[in-house]
C-alpha cells in the first residue's frame, strides 16, 4: 500500500517537473526566436534552470523511494 502511494507521489513530482521544464523550454525557444544571436547564452541559462527544477523533482522521487 505504501509503495503505491509512494508511486503516486513520484508521479506528482514528475508532473511538477514536467510543467517546470516545459515552461523553461518554451520560453527559451521564444527567446531564441526573438534573438537568435543570443542562443548560446539562453541555452546555458535554460540548462541551469532545468537542472534546478529537475533537482526539486528528484527530491520527490527520493522521498518516494525512501518511504518504501
Amino acid at each position: 500500500m505504501t509503495g503505491s502511494i509512494a508511486a503516486i507521489g513520484a508521479g506528482l513530482a514528475v508532473i511538477g517537473a514536467g510543467i517546470g521544464i516545459g515552461q523553461i523550454g518554451g520560453h527559451a525557444m521564444d527567446a531564441i526566436a526573438r534573438q537568435p544571436e543570443a542562443t548560446s547564452k539562453i541555452q546555458t541559462a535554460m540548462i541551469i534552470a532545468a537542472a534546478l527544477v529537475e533537482g526539486v523533482a528528484l527530491f520527490g522521487v527520493v522521498v518516494a523511494l525512501m518511504s518504501k
Partner: protein, 415 residues
C-alpha cells in the same frame, strides 16, 4: 590534363588489362577525386585523410567505450539470474541459498546494494562466485580501544570475529555494554581517497608543466583538457558571481568542482562507488560552503539577515532570512545527492526490467534506454559539478558583495 581525359584513359586501361581489377578501381577513384576543385593535388588529399583519421579513431573508441559501458552494467546485474538458473536446474544444495529459485529477483535490493555504502568493494558475481575486495575495518570501542582488521574476517556477514558481527553492513558488538564507533575505510571512503590521489597526481603534473614552460605555448595533453575547465571556473563561475574579491575563493571552488566531477564520473563506471550519491559526502561539502559563506559575510550581509529592510516586517523577515542561511546549503546537499542517486536508480531499474519481465526480448529496449540515460548522466555529471560550484559562488557573492551597489541584486537572489 583535363580530368575527363584521365577518366577516359583509365577506362581504356581497364578494357585493355583487367588482370588486377581492384588496383584499377582504386586508381580510378583516385583520379576521380581530382574532379573536385579543392583537391588539386595528392598532398591536399593526404592532408584531408590525415585529418579524418584521428577523428575516426576517436569516434570508434568512444562508441566502443559506450558499448562496453552498457554491457558491463548489464553483466553486473546479469549475475543473480545466473545463480537462480544454476540452482534451479542442478539443484545444488547450498546452505544459505535454499529458496533462491522461488524468489523473484528483487530489483530494489539490487539497486540499493549499488547505491549504498559497504564494508567490502564488490566487483562482480554473486554468492560464492563474487569477486570483492575486502576493506579495512577500524572501530573504536569504549572497552577495547582501537581495533583494526580486514572485513574479510566477517565472510560477508556469515561469521563473527573478535566479538563483532556484521548485520546489514553495520558492525554490532555481541557485548551489550560495549558501544562502538565505526571509523572504517568503507567503499565510499576508499573511492574518495582514490579520487584524491588521482586529482593530486593530475593537478600537480599540470601545475608542474606550467611552472616549467609558463604560459608561452599552447597547452598540450591533459593540460589542454583541464585548462578550459579551470579557466571556466575562475572566470565564469568565480569572477562572474563574486566579483573582484573572487581570487580568494577560486581554490575552494576549483577543489569542489573537480572533486564532484571526478567522483560523478567514477560513480558512472559500473564497479565504482556512488560517492556523490552519498548524503554524508554532500553534507560535508555543503557545510564547507556554509562556513565559508558566513565567515566571509560582510556587515551588509549580516544587516540584511538580522535587520531586514521594512522595519515593521522585522519579526517575520528576520526568522525567514535566518533560516535561509541554512536552507541554501541544505538545498545544495539534497540536489547533488538526489540527482546522482536517482540517475543510478534509473539505470539499474531499466536494466532490471529484463528480470522483472523475465524475457530477453525486452533487453534491446532496456539496454537502449539505459545507454541513453547513461549518456545523459555524463551531461548530469558535469552539470551537477557546475551547479554546485556556481551556487556556492553565488552564495559567497551575495555575502561579500558591496551592499550599496548590489542592494537590488542581493535582494533579488533571495526570492
Amino acid at each position: 590534363m583535363p580530368p575527363n581525359l584521365h577518366a577516359f584513359l583509365i577506362l581504356k586501361a581497364v578494357r585493355r588489362k583487367t588482370k588486377n581489377k581492384r588496383k584499377i578501381i582504386l586508381l580510378f577513384s583516385k583520379r576521380c577525386l581530382h574532379l573536385h576543385p579543392k583537391t588539386k593535388n595528392q598532398s591536399v588529399f593526404r592532408k584531408m585523410t590525415n585529418k579524418i583519421k584521428p577523428f575516426r579513431a576517436y569516434s570508434i573508441f568512444a562508441t566502443l567505450f559506450l558499448v562496453l559501458l552498457s554491457t558491463l552494467t548489464f553483466a553486473e546485474i546479469n549475475e543473480p539470474t545466473h545463480e537462480v538458473l544454476h540452482s534451479d536446474s542442478a539443484m545444488v544444495a547450498q546452505p544459505h541459498e535454499e529458496n533462491n529459485s522461488e524468489k523473484a529477483v528483487d530489483i530494489t535490493a539490487v539497486a540499493f546494494e549499488h547505491i549504498l555504502d559497504s564494508h567490502s568493494w564488490h566487483f562482480w558475481g554473486e554468492g560464492h562466485h563474487s569477486v570483492a575486495m575486502p576493506l579495512p575495518i577500524i572501530i573504536y570501542s569504549n572497552t577495547k580501544g582501537f581495533q583494526l582488521f580486514s572485513s574479510s574476517k566477517f565472510e560477508h556477514g556469515h561469521a563473527s570475529y573478535n566479538g563483532y558481527s556484521l548485520v546489514d553492513e553495520k558492525i554490532e558488538s555481541i557485548d551489550t555494554n560495549e558501544s562502538i564507533v565505526d571509523l572504517s575505510i568503507t567503499k565510499n571512503v576508499a573511492q574518495m581517497l582514490l579520487s584524491v590521489v588521482v586529482l593530486l597526481l593530475l593537478f600537480t603534473s599540470i601545475a608542474r608543466s606550467y611552472q616549467k614552460h609558463g604560459v608561452t605555448s599552447a597547452p598540450k595533453g591533459k593540460q589542454s583538457f583541464f585548462e578550459p575547465l579551470i579557466v571556466f571556473v575562475r572566470d565564469d563561475i568565480a569572477k562572474g558571481n563574486i566579483g573582484e574579491k573572487s581570487e580568494k575563493f577560486v581554490p575552494y571552488l576549483l577543489s569542489v568542482f573537480f572533486l564532484i566531477l571526478i567522483n560523478n564520473v567514477f560513480g558512472m563506471i559500473p564497479i565504482g562507488a556512488n560517492l556523490t550519491g552519498n548524503i554524508a559526502f554532500t553534507l560535508t561539502l555543503s557545510v564547507f560552503t556554509l562556513i565559508i559563506t558566513n565567515i566571509n559575510g560582510n556587515s551588509g550581509y549580516w544587516k540584511h539577515i538580522l535587520l531586514p529592510k521594512p522595519y515593521y516586517m522585522w519579526f517575520i523577515l528576520m526568522p525567514i532570512e535566518f533560516v535561509g542561511i541554512f536552507t541554501k546549503p541544505f538545498a545544495l546537499m539534497m540536489r547533488l545527492f538526489a540527482n546522482m542517486t536517482a540517475g543510478h536508480i534509473i539505470v539499474i531499474s531499466l536494466i532490471g526490467l529484463i528480470f522483472v519481465f523475465k524475457t530477453i526480448y525486452i533487453a534491446p529496449v532496456s539496454i537502449a534506454f539505459a545507454l541513453f540515460i547513461d549518456v545523459l548522466e555524463v551531461l548530469v555529471a558535469f552539470l551537477q559539478a557546475y551547479v554546485f560550484t556556481m551556487l556556492t559562488a553565488l552564495f559567497i557573492g551575495t555575502a561579500v558583495a558591496d551592499h550599496h551597489s548590489d542592494e537590488s541584486h542581493a535582494g533579488a537572489d533571495h526570492h
